[in-house]
Every structure is written in structure tokens, then in C-alpha cells.
Point group: C2
Chain length 819, copies 2
């Protein structure tokens, strides 16, 4: 497919005199674009649901911009500056670990005290047999807490809604959504999570902790805040996306470490689920961060053991300490465990499926009718291009949805209160066992044998599960020597309620994690399974509960090593290892036959252009030239200010090839790639030339590398804000010293699959496409993340969607990943 | 730097008539090569020390060869065939896990029984006070075992010497050394390791287990053996380096899992230390493999618990089970632990330094005088180019060294026997404690209180450590409630002896690991430290021993997460976690100031062209054009057989660009890259054409994709073995259907640093360099792994070596990695 029409741009000699051109004349003649199969598509037209709002998204710049300025800066860097950089990076990791562990501890402390207080007051009323008053206090406390959480989320930071893990995961893949790491998001995430978890909704705190950890890391890595006059020279080295990516990875690891007190599990979680790029150094850094977390948490819990933390309790966070005694299991125990794992895998994939549908329904209710149609269709991107035009309307739409969102949250709160308080009345009272290892019935906050409405000396087994915090319910389910405590039916009721309540609670506009709900549901499933198997196995029911949690986690989250280590760290028993590994493997394998990892489903549903590690098989049949979008706009090595301003104002592209044409070179030669942000900086600093002659010294002297460092979130300059006089518009800029002279290139005949590998492995934002046959243009297009998204490619080449390969992909969703 | 002289090859039209050319005329006119700064360098001239011999090495092909044949094959693949592939890959992982765990178990069983028998016999003689006879039996048993191990290693498979981890690590980085995964290497590795470990040398079995696991994986992934008529169609899909890499990664994970019974630690070890490329799927696969290992091992140990495994003991492998009781430690315990970690880091880096020097000395003794000079100089590659000519002599040299090698092994065995038997005589006998938890004195194989020469009711503390297997010594050092068992001086003697003996034993020509020696030395160091700290800490000495092991492992191996998990799995106590994390972090950080990871040092010393994840800083100042080697030899799309044969015979290159010239295209156009192995297959299959006209159908029909799959180790065809008649030599081959039409390319102006990133991240073997200014040649060179090796680059550009950056790199060896 040789280019038949080449760009017929006027040679720079003619343009240089500045008379033949007028302000209104477009830089490039629209008649002479390289012919392309389809019309221009603007890469900034990408939108996705971030938290609970629709936002435009961009890509991150991981590539090192190797221009003259950078090289000059690098050459002049002293040994001391390198020391500063390394030292500061470790200090930042230390601070992230410290702050995240403090936040996690305060989070737990607040939840245990608020929820504990609520249960103590209610229980005291129950003891006085004022059941209606107790319900009223319980329900209204929950209502107020939920309302508060959803209000601050919806009004202050809609980005803080949900778990936050999909957003962080997309960020670590190179997707930049606005405000996901802002200060107010962090604030709402922490406060909202405390409030929502205390309100007895079946939601978790691990996801919000991961997001909060990532926020803390991103804010610390932003290199100070000009707004609050917090700029420090030592932090200037971190003003780039590569270093921020590392810090955010460490922050998310610290989040899990602080939520579960599982430092090694946290590192592995960040590695297995979150990070798209990984290297040994990062592993070490994340390990350091979580080690700081673990040590700080241990110290704080030591303090709390002395009883100065109110209702925080002795156990400290959620270390369940299942079975200190030796566990013995033999070959005969394997068949029931296998069945448990298979059923757990099925339940896990069902969980994911229902959750996906429920989120879709919520989005419809929230008023994103037209958008969620796109978001959930397989041709999301094509649809989004149309939406782009109506963007302000979409925001209006989302404002209208605010009332619905709050209403749903309140409704869920009332429903949860009714179920938690109402269902235990269905259970009959059991007499206390004589050999109980703890007081029976327990009165007050936690404990295994809840009195509820029962007469003295009796307990309500369903209340022990429902009328408790989630952490305590898990503790009760995991406990040993309690095989006869719970009744079959109670466990079934608890399991079914948790299963559905946790799914419907997740979509609420408040910070809400999925880990704890899945663990508690899985534990109930495991106990129920253990009861049914009964005497056929030597394992006690507490152990079955642990294995049940593992199976549901494996079936829903689809992680292996990290979940395994998190469960080991939670239960503090290494002897379980082979059984847990078996359960995780089987449940993941079974669930993978039906659908994907829960976070991947959410990432896809939200419309993030997430790049998988491997290209889809049909991409091998396409060439890069088949997806290249046009029109290509490029600059000359020494370009007129007017042209630059015009192009920046009329397009949304973030990178432009720089081409040297005669007389600067014998023939048109690709010099490199320049970023929009750098062009705007150049215009702002006004390092202009009167004549189109190379004079890089002047510009380099006037500008420092710091001017070109990536600004913090939302701090980038816009072309609209730059005012230039008419005489300035007629001047020139020598782009050479600021152009990345080493952009990655592919031939247009390169297969799309291989270009995908290059793009993903190296972590690019722009990939230049050069012609196979040398023509008059040295570059025929730019490929971005957008061009590799399967929906986009299939939209361009519908025949591929109908091919056997694509059908196969859809029929067996996770087979590609297994390869 | 525009090319001034372009290749002036005759156009194909003139060459096509076949009359102007003769057999002797070279394909390319030597006068018309593109001028290059230096003379040709043959990429096959690379040699490295593999095991204990010098071998030529090649690179692995991880790139997918996207040619017509491949695409055709891919399009016609049925769903069933994909199922076969996925299913077989999982089955292979299952088999790897199963076989490696069986090997690991048998290995342990054999060592425990052979070494146990030796100790039982000797102890009985000691009881009868026949000390001299006891020494004679002990020393001669050790001597025979060592001699056997070193003989089979030196004669049958020198590749099996040493730990094997550096070789596997290099393989997973893309370095292909011959015979490292052959059947005989595996056999010698397993048998030799049993024999050497039983002979009381201070060497480990973990390294050899990793190598054995990798061998098993590689052999299983070779797709059957034609020699032994074991070919199965289902295995054909694994005949490529990508799949083999995955399997070898799983095999090495299984090796650690089987050696330490640490499945999660094994996965993390493979991930952190071994693998250069990693993805989520691989993590899962490795996890599956080690899970199989863990389950099989548990089953086998269950069988052994019934006492049917001879002297195997009850504990099963080396699960030390340090402290079942709760450990409590507080803030006051942190300062001594910090000091322990800092000293451990210093000791670890000292250990690495001395080991490096000792290996160098051994190589000199072994007769590699001239070679080891290169091998240990920083300009190893330049030196190797000269060696290439004298290759047969080098082999002769190594044969001459055989006697030295065996002599060193025998000497080390005698020295070890003398020390192990002699040193306990220095210790005084202690009376047995009254509250000992086990019989005192113990007589026979293992146990904490060895009688040795002491009178009844007394024990020899030094003999409890020396006169035991390494595993038992570790168990004794880690044991709790034994704070008063050992004397200061005894521990000091044991520590110093282990430290040096383990270093000198490693270089012996026998399979020898480093993990166990470092653990035992570290445990002695930790105990000694605990004794000195004494009452200032609440921690018991057993715990100090665990922390000491962690600190020495951290200081020597420099892994973090994996060592942490391995120690947790070994000691079966999660409460230690924060302390172990602290120790590992500090010791690694301290040791990193002085030198590198022990395996990296060995990889470098052996001369493997290992590619680090990051390019050295000075590479940013160089362009790809600065390192491109010449002369470039390329083929035309339709090439004469004679030309192909000539080029293959006269060069050692493994990849050749294919260029279409007029009349096939308007101007010279790069079509792709063809591999030597594929050309040889084409010549062998004789799919020739009479006329230089495209006719791909004919060739595709005659050849199947299976013909082009990568052969197993040492099974590749050689050009010398192919006989062609004169008329065949005058025929043509249409290379198009067999050429990889999507090779990765970079512009010659690309910075070397960025090209390194591309090369390393994507995992390439060849990277084509295209000219910036379109000239008459569409490709100016090929860059291979060799061209990125720092020594090579610095040799070409000595000014860089003198630059501040390079000096910085040498002065602070691990700073680059910290960034």
C-alpha cells in the first residue's frame, strides 16, 4: 500500500517570508493529506467513568525525553544531585509507609470505636428489651453515617466512589484520569471509608486504603505544591510520570499492608494485580515501604494493647489467628476440598457477573443512560467519539444524577439495617455450650455468642454474624472449636444475604472495597460447606471457612500468590499453605472459564483504555498502517510561532513529529517528536527568534530543564491562556533543542501485534510510523494507546470481529491470558 | 553522519544470468562496504565459562517470527489445537512440579541416609573409643564421595559444576550456553549433588536443585527426543524459546520449592532473582508448579512419618519449626537487631568479595590462565575476540586442568574432614543440662547434644555443630531454650570455619549450592551476636540465629521478598515477619554500598553477556550508529543458492536482512529479517526455483511450520553438513515466505540507551538499524546483545570509560540499580 498522495506542504523557504500566509490559513493544506481510510479522530476524545463521574482521560509519559536540554542537564548533574535523588526516593518511600500505616491505623481505630459504640448502645437497649428503640437507634446511626459518606463523596470528590483499585490499576498502566489522586479525593476516601464501613454496610476498607495509599504517594511525589508554598528543590527530580508510577505502586502496596497487616501480601498484591511494569528495584522499594508499615503498625498496636484505644480491642486490626494448634490433614481430606474449590470458583464468577450487571443498572439509574450504553457496549470508543461533542451536557446529566445517587445510598442503608436487625429474629435461641472458650452469651461489642433477643444462658447464632462488624463476623466464622455453634439454616441465610447485599452495596456512591465482603461471604460459604460435608472430613469448620474465603477470593479476584500470602498473614498459620494453594488454583481455573478478574471487568466497564500485556490474536493479521489515524500534523525544525499556536488551538494532539526539510537538510528528515506541554512552555517563555536560523544556545540559556518537568495533576498550562502579540506571532522558534531526538519508530508494514508489544513493553505514549518506501514524508503517522484498544481496532476492521479468532476470544474470555 | 559510500552491489538483473559470477567470487565486494569505525566482529566469538568449562554461547530467539508461513499456520489452527497448546502447557507444569518434587525428595532421602549412615558408623566407633579408626572411616567416606562427585562432574558434564543458578539466570535473560540443560547435565547435577552434600563439604543443595529443576523443565519442553523416539505431536508447540523460557522459570521455582519446602518462596525466588521477563500469567503458572510440589512433598513426608524412610527423620526436609510459642519483642529489641543487620550486611559483602577472588584463583589453578585474565578484566569481550582463534587450544587447556580440578576437590575433602573431626577436640566437655528437652548426650545421627569424645553425662558443643549434617547444624542453631548450650569460643570457631570453608568449597568441581552454607554461617554469626548482646535483649539465641541467617542472606544474595518468605516458610513462624523484613532491608542496603549480588558477580565473572534492565548512564551520550558492527551482509528477496551458501559458510551471523531491490520494487526496500537456522532448513529441504521469480506457493506447500521450529539443544543442523550439487547452487530461493516481515527497527540516530530499553524489554536477538536519511541501502546494520554489553561499548569508546559517569558507576557499583 504505497502512499499515492504525499503531503504537498509549501517548502519552508516560501513560508519563511511570512507574506503568503495569513492567520486564517490552515497550516497544512487539507487537500494534501495522506489518504486514510477514515476521518480524523481526536485522541483527547477519550472519556471514562472515574469514580462516579465521566471525565476525559489522557496517557502518561513514561518515555525519557532525550533532547539537548535533557542531555545537557544530565551531563552537568553532580554526584551530589544523584545522591539527592536516590536519597529522596527512599525517604519518600519511608514517609509513604509511615503515613499510610498511620492512616490505616486511625481508620481501624475510628471504625472500631464508632461501630463499637453503636453496637454497645444498641445492645444495652436490647438487654433492657427496648427492641424498637434499639432498631431505631441502629438504623438511624447507619443512615446518618451512610448519608454523610455518600454526600461528601458525591459533592466533594465523586472520584472517591467505589474501591479505587480499578482507577489505580489503570493509572499504573499509563492512563491518566483527572483528580483521582487529588488532596480532596484522598480526604473523602479516608473519611468516607470510615463513615461507610462504620454504617454496617457490607463493604470493605481494603480497596479505599489502596486508593488512599496511592493518593498519598502521588501527592508526595508531585514535588511540592506551589499553591501552599511547599516547594523544595530536592523534590524537583520527581516531577515526571516514571517516578510517580513507582511511588504509586509502593503506595498501593502499603495500602493493603496497612489494611490487612499483611506486608508481604501487600507487595505481592501490588505486583500481581496493580503494576503493569515491574522490575526488581521496584519490588525492593515496595518491600521497604510495607516493612515500614508493618513495623509502625506493630508499635501502635503495642500501645493499644495497654487499653488506651477505646473499643479497639486486643487483637489489633484483622489478624485472625485462626488456629494456633497444629492442623493435620491427609489425602482423604482432598476430595471435599476440591469440590469446595470448584463450587467456590463457580460462585466467584457468578459474583463477578452479577456485580457487573448491577453496576450497569446503577449507571442507568444515575442518569448516564446514553453513556452507559456506550460504556457497556463492546464498541465503547466509537460511541465515545460522538459523546465528545455533548460533553458539557454529560456533566449536567451527572449533576442531575446526584439526587439518585444519594437516594440509592440511603435506600441501601435502610435495607441493610432492616436485614441485619430483622433476620436474626428468624433464628431460634440455642442454649450456651458448656465448654465454650469465651463467655456465653456475650453482651456488648464483639464476641462469638450474641445474646440478642434470647433469654439468659442462650445465644442467637445468626445475630453473632449479622449483628457485628464484618471483621468480627469473619473472626467468628474462622474460629475453631465452634463446629456446633451455628445452625445450617442460619449459615445459609447469612451467606445468601451477604452475597447479594455486598454486590448491591458496592455500587453506592461512597468509598467501598470488595475484599472484606468477598472474604466474609466466602467464609460463610465455606462453613456451610463444612457443615454439609460434616463427618466425612477431619477438618474443622473454621478451617473450611478459611478455605471457603480463599475459594471465593480466587474465583472473584483471580489472584494467586498475593491472595495466598494475604490469607496466610491474616490467619497466621503456615501449615495451611498446601491446601490454600490447591483451593486458589482450582477456583481460579474454574472461574476463568466464564469471565475475567473482577477488577478487569470494572476497568473495562468504566471505559479505561487499559493495555493488556499481550495483543489479541487477530492483531497479527493487521499492519500498523491499517490503524494509523490522520491527519498527521508536524512541525519543522524551525517553526513559525503562528503555525504552532494555530495547530495547538485547533487540535488536541499531545505529540507532534518534527521534520527537518531543505534547506536545513538535503531531503525531509525526521528529527524527533515534541510534546504539546513543551510547546506551550516554549510559547509561555517566549524564547523566539527573529529569523529562521538555528540558534539553540539562546533558547537553552533562557530555559531550564525544570520548566519542562511534568506538572502536578491539573496544573498544566493551556494554550488558551497564552497571549501573544501580532509581532511575536510572526517570529520563529528553534524546536531542535526541545525535541525528543530518539522517538521510537516502526515501519508501517510492522504487524499491529508486534507494535503493541513494543508500545506496551517500553511504556510509550506516542509511536511514530515511518514509511517503508522512502518518500517525501519521513513519517506517515503517530500511533497512540487509543489505536491499540481492541474495540477501536475492531470498529475499523469489522471483518476481524467476525473472524474465528475474535469469536474465540469472546467465547473463552480468559484463554488468551492463559497462553 | 550521512553514509558517504553506499553498497555498490550489482543489481540482481545482472546477477541473475549466472555467468558473470564464479563460485570463488564473494557475494559482496569488500571495497564497497559501508565505512565503519572498526573491523568486523563475529557475534559467535562470544565465549563464557559454563559450569567449569569454556564454551561458545549464543542468544535465544524470543521474537515471534511473523512470516507468511507462520501466519498461514496461525490462520489454519483449529480451536482444538489451541486447546492442545494450553492444556499441554499446564500438563507440562504439572509434570515439572511432580518430577522436581520427587527428585527433591529422593535427593533429601539419599543425603540423609548416606550421611546419616556415615555418622552412625563413626559415632559407634567413637563410643567404643576407637578415635583413629573413626577418623579414618569418616575421612575416607568423605573422600570417596567427593571424588565420585568431582569425577563424574569433570568427566561427564563439566556444565554441572557449581550452583547452576548463574547459568539458569543467564538463560532466562536470553543467553544460550550449550549443554546446560542436557540430560547428562541433569543426571550429574542430581547424583553429584547427593554425593557432594553427603560428603560433609560445606555446600548446599538448593542451587543444584534449581538447576536440576530447570533441566527437567527444559528437557520436557524440547518436544520429545528423536534420538529416543519420544516424539509426540502435542509437544510440537513448545519448540520455541519463549515457551521454554516459561517452563524453565517454573522449573527453577519448583527447585527452590522442593529444596526448602517453600512453595511461595520458590515462586518469589524465580521472580525476583531468576526471571528477566515476567508477567502475571507466568506468576500463576509458577505458582501452580510449586503448589504441585508442595502437595506431593507433603504426601511423601506423610509416608515417611510412618518410619519407612530409613534415617530420613521425622521433621521432613528442612522445615525448622523454630518457635511454636509466641514470640514477643518490643522497641528496645530494635537497636541490637539493627547492629546485627549492619554487621551482617558487611559480612555478606565481604563474603561475596572473597568468593569472587577465590573463584578467580581457582580458574588460574585450573589452567585458564590466559582466559581468566580476560574473564576477570573489564574488557573481557575484546580479549575474547582474540581467544576465538585459539579455541581448540583452550579446550586442550581445560582438559589439562582436569587433574588440577580433581586434586583441588580431594584436597578440600581432606581439609574439611580434618577440620570437622579435629576442631571439636579443642572444645571442653560440658555437663548435660538437667532441663534439656531432648536426650543428652545424643548418640547417633542427629540431635543437639553430641557426645563425641566426652565422658557419659557430658556433651561436646562444637561437635554438635561440626559433626552433623548442615541441616542438623542449622536446626541446632535455630533451636530455642538452648541459650546456655554453646560456648562463645566454640561459636566463634564454628563461624570462622564455616565462613572460609564454604567459600573455598564452592569452587570445587562438583554441584554445590550457596544457600545452605550462607544460612549456616549466618546462623552461627547470629548466635554469636546474641551471646555477646546477652541480657540486653529479650530475644533468645535461636531467634538471633534466624535473624543472623537473614542478615547474611540479605548481605550476600541481596534478595528481599523471596528470602523473607523462604525464611518464614523454613521457620514456620509469621510473628517474626517485621523483624526479618527490617534485617533484610538494612543488610541489603549496607552490602549494596560495596559490591553486587553474589549471583551477578558470578555471572559477570563467567563472562555471560547478561543484559541489565537499565542501560548504563553513559549510553545516553551514544547513538546506535556508534556501535553498529559491520560488514553488513544481506540477501535479496529472491536469492541465489550459491550466495546463501557462501555467506553462511563464511560468516557466523545468525540473522540477515532481506532487501527487495529493483525490479522487485521501485527502490531498495527492507523486507524483513531471516534467521540462519531457517536458511539452513531451506537449503536442506531444497525448495529451489529455476528462475528468480516469486513463487511462494510452491515453497509453502513443500515445507511445514514444524520444519522451522527451534530444535532442541545441540540438535541444530550445520551448513557444513548440507551437500548441494553444482546445478542446485545455480538455482534460486524465494525468501519472502520465510522472512520475518515485522522485524523491530531503530533509526541510526536513536540513542543507545533507548535502543537498549527496546532490546531488553521486548526480548530481541536482532535489532535492525535503518538510516535516518533515505539512501540506497534501507538498512545500515544489525545490533545484537553483544553490542550492548558495557565492556564492548566502552572498548569502542574509551572516552566514555574515562567519563565521570563511568567512574561513578565503578565507584558506587549498585547505585545505578537503586535508581
Amino acid at each position: 500500500m504505497p502512499p499515492t498522495l504525499l503531503c504537498c506542504r509549501a517548502p519552508p523557504a516560501a513560508a519563511a517570508d511570512g507574506e503568503v500566509e495569513s492567520r486564517t490559513q490552515p497550516l497544512l493544506n487539507p487537500n494534501c493529506y495522506r489518504p486514510l481510510r477514515r476521518s480524523a479522530s481526536n485522541s483527547t476524545s477519550q472519556v471514562a467513568i472515574v469514580g462516579s463521574n465521566v471525565c476525559p482521560i489522557e496517557s502518561l509519559d513514561y518515555e525519557i525525553i532525550e533532547n539537548d536540554l535533557f542531555k545537557q542537564d544530565w551531563r552537568t548533574r553532580q554526584k551530589f544531585e544523584i545522591f539527592q535523588y536516590i536519597f529522596m526516593k527512599w525517604i519518600l518511600c519511608f514517609l509513604i509507609g509511615l503515613i499510610v500505616s498511620l492512616v490505616g491505623f486511625c481508620n481501624n481505630l475510628a471504625v472500631e470505636n464508632i461501630a463499637g459504640m453503636k453496637f454497645v448502645v444498641t445492645s444495652n437497649m436490647m438487654l433492657a428489651r427496648k427492641f424498637l428503640a434499639a432498631f431505631f437507634v441502629f438504623a438511624s446511626a447507619n443512615f446518618v453515617l451512610t448519608l454523610f459518606a455518600s454526600l461528601i463523596t458525591a459533592v466533594i470528590a465523586p472520584e472517591a466512589a467505589g474501591s479505587g483499585i480499578p482507577e489505580v490499576k489503570a493509572y499504573l498502566n499509563g492512563v491518566d484520569a483527572p483528580a483521582i489522586f487529588s488532596l480532596r479525593t484522598m480526604f473523602v476516601k479516608i473519611v468516607g471509608s470510615i463513615s461507610a464501613v462504620s454504617s454496617s454496610l457490607i463493604i470493605g476498607k481494603a480497596g479505599p486504603m489502596v486508593h488512599a495509599g496511592a493518593c498519598i504517594a502521588a501527592i508526595m511525589g508531585q514535588g511540592g505544591s506551589k499553591k501552599y508554598r511547599l516547594t523544595w528543590k530536592w523534590l524537583q527530580y520527581f516531577k515526571n510520570d516514571r517516578d510517580r508510577r513507582d511511588l504509586v505502586t509502593c503506595g498501593s502496596a502499603a495500602g493493603i499492608a496497612a489494611a490487612f497487616r499483611a506486608p508481604v501480601g501487600g507487595v505481592l498484591f501490588a505486583l500481581e494485580e496493580m503494576a503493569s511494569w515491574w522490575r526488581s528495584t521496584l519490588l525492593w522499594r515496595a518491600f521497604f515501604t510495607t516493612a515500614v508499615c508493618a513495623i509502625v503498625l506493630r508499635g501502635l498496636i503495642d500501645v493499644c494493647r495497654r487499653g488506651q484505644c477505646g473499643l479497639f480491642g486486643q487483637g489489633g486490626l484483622i489478624m485472625f489467628d485462626v488456629t494456633a494448634a497444629n492442623i493435620s490433614y491427609h489425602l482423604v481430606d482432598v476430595p471435599p476440598v476440591l469440590v469446595l474449590a470448584i463450587l467456590g470458583g463457580l460462585l466467584g464468577s457468578l459474583y463477578n457477573h452479577i456485580l457487573d450487571k448491577v453496576l450497569q443498572m446503577y449507571n442507568l439509574l444515575n442518569g448516564y443512560g446514553s453513556f452507559s450504553h456506550c460504556s457497556y457496549s463492546s464498541h465503547i470508543k466509537a460511541c465515545m467519539n460522538n459523546i465528545n461533542i455533548h460533553f458539557p451536557e454529560l456533566f449536567l446529566l451527572s449533576r442531575k444524577g446526584l439526587a439518585y445517587k444519594i437516594f440509592i445510598a440511603c435506600f441501601m442503608s435502610i435495607l441493610t439495617s432492616c436485614l441485619l436487625f430483622g433476620l436474626p429474629w428468624l433464628a431460634t435461641c440455642h442454649p450456651c455450650p458448656l465448654d465454650a472458650s469465651e463467655p456465653c452469651p456475650t453482651i456488648g461489642r464483639s464476641g462469638n455468642y450474641k445474646k440478642f433477643q434470647c433469654p439468659p444462658g442462650h445465644y442467637n447464632d445468626l445475630a453473632s454474624l449479622f449483628f457485628n462488624t464484618n471483621d468480627d463476623a469473619i473472626k467468628n466464622l474462622f474460629s475453631k472449636n465452634t463446629d456446633s455453634e451455628f445452625h445450617h439454616l442460619s449459615m445459609l441465610v447469612f451467606f445468601v444475604t451477604c452475597f447479594f447485599l455486598s454486590i448491591f452495596s458496592y455500587g453506592v456512591v461512597a468509598p467501598a472495597g470488595l475484599f472484606v465482603p468477598v472474604i466474609v461471604t466466602g467464609a460463610a460459604y465455606g462453613r456451610l460447606f463444612g457443615m454439609i460435608v460434616g463427618g466425612h472430613s477431619n477438618l474443622n469448620h473454621g478451617l473450611f471457612a478459611v478455605l471457603g474465603s480463599a475459594s471465593l477470593l480466587g474465583g472473584s479476584m483471580r489472584m494467586t500468590v498475593s491472595i495466598c500470602v494475604i490469607i496466610l498473614e491474616l490467619t497466621n498459620n503456615l501449615l495451611l499453605l498446601p491446601l490454600i494453594m490447591l483451593v486458589l488454583l482450582v477456583s481460579k481455573m474454574v472461574a476463568d472459564l466464564f469471565n475475567g478478574n473482577i477488577y478487569d471487568l470494572i476497568v473495562q466497564a468504566k471505559g479505561f483504555p487499559y493495555l493488556e500485556a499481550h495483543a489479541d490474536p487477530y492483531m497479527r493479521q493487521l499492519k500498523v498502517g491499517d490503524v494509523v489515524t490522520g491527519p498527521l500534523q508536524f512541525f519543522q525544525g524551525i517553526e513559525k510561532v503562528k503555525n504552532i499556536v494555530h495547530v495547538l488551538r485547533t487540535t488536541g494532539h499531545n505529540g507532534f513529529p518534527v521534520v527537518d526539510e531543505p534547506p536545513l537538510s538535503e531531503s525531509p528528515v525526521l528529527f524527533g517528536l515534541i510534546l504539546r506541554a513543551h510547546l506551550i512552555t516554549l510559547l509561555k517563555k517566549k524564547g523566539f527568534l527573529h529569523d529562521p536560523l538555528p540558534s539553540s544556545e539562546y533558547a537553552v540559556e533562557k530555559l531550564s530543564p525544570d520548566d519542562f518537568s511534568k506538572k502536578g495533576l491539573g496544573h498544566g498550562d493551556r494554550i488558551e491562556d497564552i497571549m501573544l502579540s501580532d509581532s511575536e506571532m510572526e517570529m520563529y522558534i528553534d524546536l531542535h533543542p526541545f525535541t525528543n531526538a530518539s522517538p521510537y519508530t516502526v515501519l508501517e508494514t510492522m504487524s499491529l501485534s508486534k507494535a503493541h508489544t513494543l508500545f506496551r513493553q517500553v511504556g510509550l505514549r506516542h509511536l511514530l510510523v515511518v514509511p517503508q518506501i522512502p518518500g517525501r514524508v519521513p513519517v506517515v503517522g503517530i500511533v497512540t494507546r487509543h489505536d491499540f484498544v481492541p474495540e477501536h481496532v475492531l470498529n475499523l476492521h469489522p471483518s476481524m470481529a467476525r473472524s474465528r479468532w475474535e469469536r474465540l476470544r469472546f467465547r473463552m474470555p480468559c484463554w488468551g491470558k492463559m497462553v
